[in-house]
């Protein structure tokens, strides 16, 4: 019996031994290859791209202009220069000799197509609203585009940095091939695509800048689970992992050769709906603000100190933008908060619902922190967490209190009109204050930079005194290994892999 068992065991061992051969494979060639682990993509066609898998799209497509991560200013890409006299009529000169990956030339017709496409009702373009200001587009020659706007928009050019505003070929059928065979003028072109699994991109040999890109290949693994992605990074199987959480950041900080960077911040707006009780009374809003402790919020939500990776203010303007006005950080003052609440008619405190997307990064943590902080002042926040799609489609915009994620925008003016002006489509706090509406209009139309800055400051003063918003800024975290040199990703969220090199 023993002998038989032994023989059978040996047989099993023989079957399984070949499987054990070899551990991790080393990189086999001398090519410069960067490997990235990202989430599994949703839609990727520019226009309806939900903003995931930045590495893939930003490497394949290009924009008229891009943000310089060093200066924060606009750099020319497919447009070599641009000008406007009144903010209404814009002239763009295009780069010559640029080719799409299919070999066709990039011309003014393609720019016209890409901009007009935003208004095509069959596409459901995410920038439809922003580009509805375009009256008409002229293309006097192949390399000049003149855009006439319905009204003055001195900062219109910044709209062209949005990740959905990639320049597309007017001759390519994006409805048919946008998801399966994406193609643009970018520094890398697709070589192999296994849907939901991986994509390989190779250097575009016809790229207009002969010095770029520095890499030969970009390999992206679509990994559904962030922990599996981080394991790949630790095992040296990938070089970059995006959307890292603060907990993972802390874990990785102990590992040599891996760093976690925060190229930019995102915003979480805590909006108080002024059309609903108790937020219709500014004293209640102030009481809530006095119950907050920015340092604790930063620490418990992002596990970082205020100012390090997290920021906090009470206005729609991010702390990192030049338009931000340095206002004193309100200190936590529970007696004052209680007094204000009593004055407003809530001496025994008040119960109010807080809605948020529980599966969105930092949502849960922020909701719980707000609840704890507000409790001693007399606010009983009822937490209502839902998955993000349910939250956005069923609750957002019609609830007393909400937490919503907002990407940063280099030019904050457009967001003001959409989210803080009376009648704006995403006006979460239902503000409809004449002073605020007028200031937003002035900011949107003012050509003089200094005057515009004055309006921005005035607007922030009003928000500080009477606004219905807490703006918690949370870090977007990327883990990279030290082989990666010059990783750039500005506030537009579009990584610029053409500059990246690998040791």
């Amino acid at each position: 019996m023993k002998r038989t068992a032994l023989i059978l065991l040996l047989l099993v061992a023989m079957v399984t031994t070949p499987l054990f051969a070899g551990g991790d494979k080393e990189a086999k060639s001398s090519e410069k290859v960067i490997r990235i682990a990202e989430q599994v993509p949703g839609l990727i066609t520019p226009g309806v791209w939900d903003g995931q898998v930045f590495s893939m799209n930003s490497s394949m497509y290009e924009y008229l202009v891009e943000i310089n991560v060093g200066t924060g200013q606009l750099d020319p890409v497919l447009a070599t220069d641009w000008s406007t006299t009144d903010g209404k009529d814009w002239t763009f000169h295009l780069r010559k000799g640029v080719k799409f990956h299919d070999g066709s030339d990039f011309t003014s017709k393609d720019v016209q197509y890409s901009l007009e496409r935003t208004q095509d009702p069959t596409i459901g373009h995410l920038k439809k609203q922003d580009f509805s200001v375009v009256q008409s587009i002229e293309t006097p020659d192949d390399y000049t585009v003149i855009i006439h706007l319905k009204e003055s928009r001195p900062t219109f050019v910044y709209q062209l940095t949005d990740y959905n505003m990639a320049m597309l070929s007017s001759e390519y059928d994006y409805a048919k091939y946008g998801e399966s065979k994406p193609m643009g003028t970018g520094p890398f072109m697709m070589s192999q695509y296994i849907p939901k699994e991986s994509i390989a991109m190779v250097k575009n040999p016809n790229y207009w800048d002969p010095a770029l890109p520095k890499l030969d290949k970009i390999l992206i693994y679509f990994v559904g689970d962030i922990d599996a992605s981080v394991s790949m990074l630790e095992a040296g199987r990938v070089d970059v992992v995006t959307f890292v959480t603060p907990v993972i950041k802390n874990r990785l900080s102990k590992i040599e050769g891996i760093s976690v960077i925060s190229p930019y911040q995102e915003q979480r707006f805590v909006a108080m709906n002024v059309d609903m009780k108790p937020w219709d009374d500014n004293r209640v809003r102030l009481a809530f603000k006095y119950a907050m402790d920015p340092q604790i919020i930063a620490k418990s939500v992002t596990q970082m100190n205020l100012g390090e990776g997290a920021q906090y203010n009470e206005t729609p303007i991010m702390n990192m933008l030049s338009e931000y006005k340095e206002l004193p950080l309100r200190q936590r003052d529970i007696p004052k908060a209680k007094a204000l609440l009593a004055e407003a008619g809530y001496p025994d405190g008040v119960s109010v619902a807080l809605y948020y997307a529980s599966d969105h990064p930092f949502g849960k943590e922020l909701a719980q922190t707000l609840k704890e902080l507000a409790l001693p002042a007399g606010f009983d926040l009822e937490l209502k967490g839902f998955t993000r799609d349910v939250y956005l489609s069923q609750y957002w915009l019609n609830v007393p209190t909400s937490i919503t994620g907002w990407g940063g925008r280099i030019d904050p003016s457009m967001l003001l009109g959409l989210a803080f002006k009376g009648g704006g489509p995403w006006n979460e706090s239902h503000l409809n204050d004449k002073r605020i509406n007028d200031l937003i209009d002035k900011i949107t139309e003012e050509i003089d930079v200094q005057t515009r800055m004055g309006y921005y400051h005035e607007l922030q003063d009003i928000f500080y005194a009477e606004g219905a918003l807490l703006n918690v800024q949370v870090p977007y975290l990327v883990a990279i290994n030290d082989r990666v040199v010059d990783y750039r990703q500005p506030l537009t969220m579009i990584p610029q892999y053409k500059y990246t090199d690998i040791r």
């Binding site: 070949p18 051969a21 599994v40 095992a235 199987r237 993000r388 799609d389």
Partner: protein, 322 residues
């Protein structure tokens, strides 16, 4: 022979009915999942107009029954439709590659856990109440109590992190195939083995004990037959019956239940694909994956029944008489 054939035909008939009912249940379950797929795809900056345009383009505004009919029609003709997210890419082209990977993983696990657990189960049964039995039973219980995401993490930390013998993630390097990276199968397969080992070895042990205590085995031993001969010729065939049923019943689980293991190790199989599909509410893809798991489950149960009736004439005869 004719009797067996009629059993098979009848089983196939009931399989088809099961699948038809299941397809409706799967479709309706996915249908009542909360949330809105178009909103999910487009995210927060989507206007109502954008959401509506996408719903229209993907046929999500059509009545439920029409969509169900369209889906079933497609399935019957072998067209599983397109992923919500991948216009122009058929689900067939995504799914089958993943199914292949999962089958290879399931087979690897099968090749490890079936012989292992049967051998140790028989050994424990034959040596009832001995030290060997206690050790095997303890080990079986311990591994059975560990869910695969726990045993998986153990394996990763021992073989991947400490010893560095095996890759800690089971991702196929881009540009290479699974066959040039077979080592990525080991840890996921071992995680599955851990779960299955206790279950099957215990079943094997108790059926072996039962058979060893039966009159005919006792008679054979008393007759002076060599023990080995009694075990292999007489006892084993009968003691295998319940084990085979259990293994067969678990083949369906093995395939569909790989979701956790595949996700943990990042293995590109059908389980991780299903996970992605659920996370992103990719309705056609969820339906295709779940239907396929149902088919495999039903088929493996059917094969088990037929095999069982072949091994056990009593069942075969009863089946034929009905």
């Amino acid at each position: 022979m004719n009797r067996t054939l009629s059993i098979i035909i009848r089983r196939l008939g009931s399989l088809l009915v099961t699948l038809a009912v299941m397809s409706l249940i799967i479709f309706m379950l996915v249908e009542i999942m909360p949330g809105d797929v178009a909103q999910m795809i487009l995210g927060q900056s989507a206007t109502d107009e954008a959401v509506h345009a996408l719903r229209e383009a993907r046929g999500l505004n059509d009545p439920v029954l029409l969509r169900y009919a369209r889906w079933v029609g497609g399935v019957v003709t072998g067209d599983l439709g397109e992923s919500i997210y991948m216009q122009g890419v058929s689900i067939n082209s995504i799914l089958w590659r993943r199914v292949g990977h999962s089958m290879i993983l399931a087979l690897t696990a099968f090749l490890i856990f079936v012989p292992l657990s049967m051998i140790f189960g028989v050994l424990a049964g034959v040596k009832e109440k001995s030290k060997t039995d206690s050790i095997i039973s303890f080990f079986g219980l311990a591994t059975m109590a560990l869910p695969e995401f726990v045993s998986g993490v153990f394996l990763i930390s021992i073989f991947g992190v400490q010893l560095k013998w095996l890759p800690i993630v089971s991702v196929i390097p881009i540009g290479e195939s699974l066959f040039s990276n077979l080592e990525i199968l080991v840890m996921p397969a071992l995680s599955v083995t851990f779960v299955m080992f206790g279950y099957i070895s215990r079943m094997q042990r108790s059926s072996m004990i039962q058979v060893m205590h039966s009159d005919y085995v006792r008679a054979a031993i008393l007759k002076g037959m060599p023990t080995r001969y009694v075990i292999f010729r007489h006892a084993l065939k009968n003691a295998l019956l319940p084990t085979i049923t259990i293994i067969g019943m678990n083949m369906g689980w093995l395939f569909g239940g790989l979701v956790v293991v595949e996700t943990l190790f990042g293995y590109p199989g059908m389980g991780s694909l299903l996970m992605t599909a659920i996370k992103t509410r990719d309705v056609p893809l969820i339906e295709a994956c779940v239907l396929l798991i149902t088919i495999i489950f039903s088929l493996s149960t059917m094969v088990t029944d037929i095999l069982y009736s072949y091994l056990n004439p009593r069942v075969r005869l009863q089946g034929g008489q009905k």
